[in-house]
Amino acid sequence: AQSVTQLDSHVSVSEGTPVLLRCNYSSSYSPSLFWYVQHPNKGLQLLLKYTSAATLVKGINGFEAEFKKSETSFHLTKPSAHMSDAAEYFCVVSPDTGRRALTFGSGTRLQVQP
């Protein structure tokens, strides 16, 4: 079985300050991990993915995440928030085999204050 816990339902930062969105997972096998973003009235867009290669993963729009097996974490970070980063962010885990379903976290709503 697998699960994902996003530790914060809401995060508010000021523009230009760092962003940290926390995600912990549990999995009985070697998982793949993803961060998706959803802007209002838009689809779920892939930000970045970890698939057992480098533990520090860089994604789009300046986001990155570090896979820490010892802490079972996959936190999303960005050095400097931009107003356009305001959105809902989902941490997602997938088994390391083909067709099985994705497991989503409950989401973190990021607000960016001017």
Partner: protein
Amino acid sequence: EPEVTQTPSHQVTQMGQEVILRCVPISNHLYFYWYRQILGQKVEFLVSFYNNEISEKSEIFDDQFSVERPDGSNFTLKIRSTKLEDSAMYFCASSPGQGIKNYGYTFGSGTRLTVV
């Protein structure tokens, strides 16, 4: 950039009515999925579809639900007799191959279904 298109964006239906949610996956994709998100809850897997048959489904996907690819371009989710608890955002996704690790999924923008 290719997109997954879902229509309508918002649908209101009366309890007990049948509803069909439509999706146009990316044209060269072979695997198709439906997920849903009840307001305030997690995104949940419903069903995956490949080669004109269901390849996996969740406990949520009971006999009230069905999927089909009627014409080679659309991918539909039908709910036969809607219940209040079916109110949710429904997401369609497609991928060119099996497994998100190697191929990734492209999600649509969702259809918000409201059952009254």
